[in-house]
Symmetry: C2
DNA sequence: CAGAAGTCGTTTGCCGTCTAATGAATGCGA
DNA sequence: TCGCATTCATTAGACGGCAAACGACTTCTG
């Protein structure tokens, strides 16, 4: 059980749980805030566009959007010019969550990094960038195309 | 969209995908290697014990064990003295995967950290430890007991 | 010794995520 | 213009996770 992978995994899970906890306070499920963030930035996007931005597959966005539509955060509407497309539009409720959720998220980031100095944070970001690049490269290797 | 949480999330996903890729090569699904690792270290453990070690809930282990039993990696057997307990025992197949999977995992760790100097790795681990502690503390705060 | 309380594994149901298959609409080439 | 390839969203099914409800067995207590 390699040290880094192990520690990273545990950290990941803890962060995930903390984030989930925070979102739940606003009636959201983990992951939904990302979808909302995409729409806050630009409303009326299509599932495919959102999936690409969130680095997630389209079915994931579709399912999540279905649940979120059911809970009144957004609505689905077909694009008038191109009927293949579906556009997601935020409801009042969806917009209303913007401030509280963004604050929650900023607070979480700050709370979690509280014990790190500025220099430590810089090094951490650099290291994660490198790891991200390396891991992504590994994936491209094993898959025929990407 | 805070920088750190965002980068960490992306890194996490990339690592997860890379690990999944590697495990798939040995016919395993992501996560099953952890359960196997627990049994390699000590065979005949109970679902509850394994769940605690993997920091996962018992139902997660139970489900995973069911699938792994179906694919012949382990067998279920009730404890003779205490009939509430169930013990999981590795099959030949389960033991056979040990070397290749542990190697795979070590290789992944090394590949992913390849661009980091020794000092960078140390700083990274320290930083992750701090973050892990902070995130865990946040969880304990919000939950009545733990 | 018998009932109450505690300890386990299992089942159920939901969420996020992925891959693969399906279906509808557009657009391009002959 | 007509058909076929392309582009989208959706559905189906699998997996890892979690929380809550359930059921079986053990242990503690009166």
């Amino acid at each position: 059980m390699p040290e880094f992978l192990d520690l990273h995994g545990r950290t990941s899970k803890a962060l995930r749980a903390a984030a989930d906890d925070g979102m739940r306070r606003h009636g959201l499920h983990l992951g939904q805030n990302h979808l909302l963030a995409a729409l806050w930035e630009r409303d009326g996007r299509t599932p495919g566009e959102i999936a690409a931005e969130l680095r997630v597959t389209t079915p994931t966005v579709v399912k999540m959007a279905t649940r979120m539509a059911a809970s009144g955060l957004l609505t689905r509407r077909r694009d008038e010019r191109d009927n293949r497309l579906v556009r997601l539009w935020l409801t009042e409720e969806g917009w209303a969550l913007r401030e509280p959720v963004e604050t929650e998220r900023r607070d979480l980031e700050e709370a979690v990094l509280a014990d790190l100095t500025g220099a430590e944070r810089e090094h951490l970001m650099t290291a994660l960038e490198k790891i991200h690049r390396a891991a992504t490269a590994l994936l491209k290797d094993s898959r025929s195309a990407d």
